[in-house]
């Protein structure tokens, strides 16, 4: 259908389609979006592109794979993620059940329980680091007082130190995931539980047939997101063990920074590229989930 050209009116395009000139609404839309686009281009896209360009040399990877620290870090990362996530999420699931119990003192406890998440991680991790000090730390002093024997040198053994880093990570992030699962549990209609009680369901059956089916999607999403964040957890390892002893407790997140500090940027970027096969599928999953 053609439009009649009228005096005093800008000519519309033949099919009445969009005009070429931007309306103030479109112009403002672009203007308000521009700051973030600029931030993204300058501080994400360019750096990432530049970083990938730095990581293009095959010999970086040869060198990286030849470095025993790298192999150890991959193993550590996998252990950290697999064991850490499962422990943390299982604990969060259990504790969310505990915290939805209606008792005044549990309400108070839940307020305190958030503290590790509300407080910055550096001082608390350092506090734990000193608690684990073999000579002066409170842990070994208590062990000595109770048993008369010296406690282990917590941070001087690869596996103990790695476990401790994992515990630090769990200590820090457990409150957040517990809160998420509490919100999930509170969203389950109470009538379902009342009906189940009338039907004579046991505690386990109530969990199995009501709580878990309503919570499983949230649990899975939380676990995936938590996995991404755990892969990127630098503080728990770096501030507790510094990657030591003898660079045995590095994870990929701290290894990249270690190479950067040693001025081996190519290796740092190669490390990150090696972590991408772990990260990207998880990111893809989360993007799919949030873009629905």
């Amino acid at each position: 259908m053609s439009t009649v050209a009228l005096p005093g009116v800008e000519a519309a395009t033949a099919d009445g389609g969009p005009r070429r000139r931007l309306s103030p609404w479109q112009a403002w839309g672009l203007a308000l979006l521009a700051p973030y686009v600029a931030v993204f281009l300058v501080f994400v896209l360019y750096p990432v592109g530049y970083g990938l360009w730095l990581a293009r040399h095959p010999q970086s990877y040869v060198q990286l794979f030849a470095d025993p620290v790298f192999a150890g870090s991959v193993v550590n990362t996998l252990i950290f993620v697999v064991v850490g996530i499962n422990l943390k999420m299982a604990a969060a699931l259990f504790l969310s059940g505990f915290f939805v119990t209606a008792r005044p003192w549990i309400r108070w406890l839940s307020v305190l329980f958030i503290l590790p998440w509300a407080v910055p991680s550096i001082p608390t991790i350092l506090s734990i680091r000193f608690m684990l000090n073999p000579e002066w730390g409170v842990v070994n002093q208590v062990i000595f007082r109770l048993t008369g024997a010296d406690g282990p040198n917590w941070l001087n053994d690869r596996w103990i130190a790695l476990s401790m880093a994992m515990l630090v990570h769990i200590w820090k992030s457990l409150p957040f995931w517990t809160m998420i699962l509490i919100a999930g549990r509170l969203a389950i209609p109470g009538e379902l539980y009342e009906a189940a009680s009338v039907d004579g369901a046991s505690v386990w059956q109530r969990f199995r047939f009501i709580t878990w089916p309503s919570l499983s999607t949230l649990y899975l999403t939380s676990a995936i997101l938590s996995m991404i964040w755990t892969l990127g957890d630098f503080n728990s390892v770096y501030l507790l063990t510094g990657g030591g002893p003898a660079d045995l407790t590095h994870v990929l997140a701290t290894l990249g920074i270690r190479y950067l500090r040693l001025d081996q940027v190519d290796l740092a970027m190669a490390t990150i590229v090696c972590a991408l096969p772990l990260v990207l599928p998880l990111v893809y999953f989360m993007m799919k989930r949030l873009s629905r």
């Binding site: 259908m1 439009t3 009228l6 005093g8 009116v9 800008e10 519309a12 009445g16 309306s23 103030p24």
Partner: protein, 357 residues
């Protein structure tokens, strides 16, 4: 105050054509109601007039000026939304004065105009309240107040009463009507409720499937619907329609349905034509067995107090009959009806178009 004209206006979303080239004029000061079932395009048409939707083709003019590419704010219109769209963070006073504030009017002028509108709508005691503290009817009035304050050329109403309960709806209906009689501003009012349309409009545009079915005053639409769609859409309870064949013998005419019932008809149409035969519920008159009568059997009796609605089986058809006063009839009773051929509406079976007269 201004006339509004639509000239071949069309709208497509992607490949779907929702408005199919509509033309009509609204006179200066007229209360025009756009009515039709949901999805007929009436709201889209109003939103195009408001500048909230692009016009795909054709032109819309307000007061002689084509407004296709004029921003909403420069069209000199005011709109009342179905959800009222009051700004929740502003008091009633600020809600009503917002448009003037945006136009950088003087504080004293804003106050004066808000007060004037508040007085018209009895909103003075509520000026410092927030929308959440008001009842549905009060919010509705604030939405109207916001429109009045502007003193625009055209008022637009988009289903403004749908969110109110039935009683309040009737009350607000007459308030809006009274307001229009007082301000005499051109008004375009969209509704899916034909009773609202009938009671409020100077003229009604009946829309269906993106096109106009008929334009006319309420009584014109009621008495002489142009087609079967309008006939069945306007009027409550709806017009009874049966399908049959027109038999014209000498001076008399009737429509014969497949079940053998003969329905008395007037002029229009040719012998043997397939027709839709329409008669309004209050045009069937109960008669005591005399001739000529259409025989029927009572199925349901629904007294409403002043009137009684009967559901009657005539042949294979279920027919609604409205009788004044009360009745002693019982379901199962056999009765006869007289139908004045002058009150019969005949439509072509295939096209649905009205056959003369």
């Amino acid at each position: 105050m201004a006339p509004v004209s639509f000239n071949n206006v069309a709208k497509t979303f992607g490949s779907t054509e929702v408005i199919r080239g509509i033309s009509f004029d609204i006179r200066d000061g007229e209360f025009m109601v756009l009515v039709g079932p949901s999805g007929c395009g009436k709201s889209t048409l109003l939103r195009m007039l408001a500048g909230l939707e692009e016009i795909t083709a054709g032109t819309i003019a307000i007061d002689g000026r084509v407004v296709n590419h004029v921003d909403s704010k420069d069209r000199d219109i005011a709109m009342v939304f179905q959800s009222y769209a009051l700004y929740p963070h502003m008091s009633v006073r600020d809600n009503m004065g917002f448009s003037l504030r945006l136009r950088r009017a003087e504080r004293s002028e804003i106050d004066a105009r808000v007060m004037r509108a508040a007085r018209i709508l009895n909103l003075e005691p509520y000026l410092d309240r927030y929308p959440r503290e008001l009842s549905g009817g009060q919010r509705q009035r604030v939405a109207m107040g916001r429109a009045i304050v502007r003193d625009p050329k055209v008022f637009l109403f988009d289903e403004p009463l749908s969110n109110l309960d039935a009683k309040l709806r009737v009350q607000m209906r007459s308030e809006i009507k009274a307001l229009h009689q007082r301000l005499k501003t051109t008004t375009v009012y969209v509704t899916h409720d034909q009773i609202e349309a009938m009671t409020m409009a100077d003229r009604i545009v009946v829309m269906h499937d993106g096109a106009i079915e008929q334009i006319g005053t309420p009584l014109e639409l009621y008495d002489r619907p142009d087609n079967l769609f309008v006939a069945q859409f306007i009027g409550s309870p709806a017009m009874n329609v049966v399908r049959g064949t027109l038999r014209r013998t000498g001076g008399a005419a009737h429509v014969e349905t497949a079940d053998g019932v003969r329905w008395p008809a007037g002029s229009g149409g040719v012998d043997g034509q397939g027709v839709a035969y329409g008669v309004r519920p209050d045009h069937l008159e109960l008669v005591g067995g005399g001739e000529p009568a259409v025989p029927g059997e009572i199925v349901v009796v629904e007294p409403t107090g002043s009137e009684t609605e009967l559901v009657v089986r005539i042949g294979d058809a279920q027919i609604i009959v409205e009788t004044h006063g009360r009745t002693t009839l019982q379901p199962g009773d056999t009765v006869g009806f007289a139908i004045d051929p002058a009150n019969v509406h005949l439509f072509d079976q295939a096209s649905g178009a009205r056959l003369a007269p």
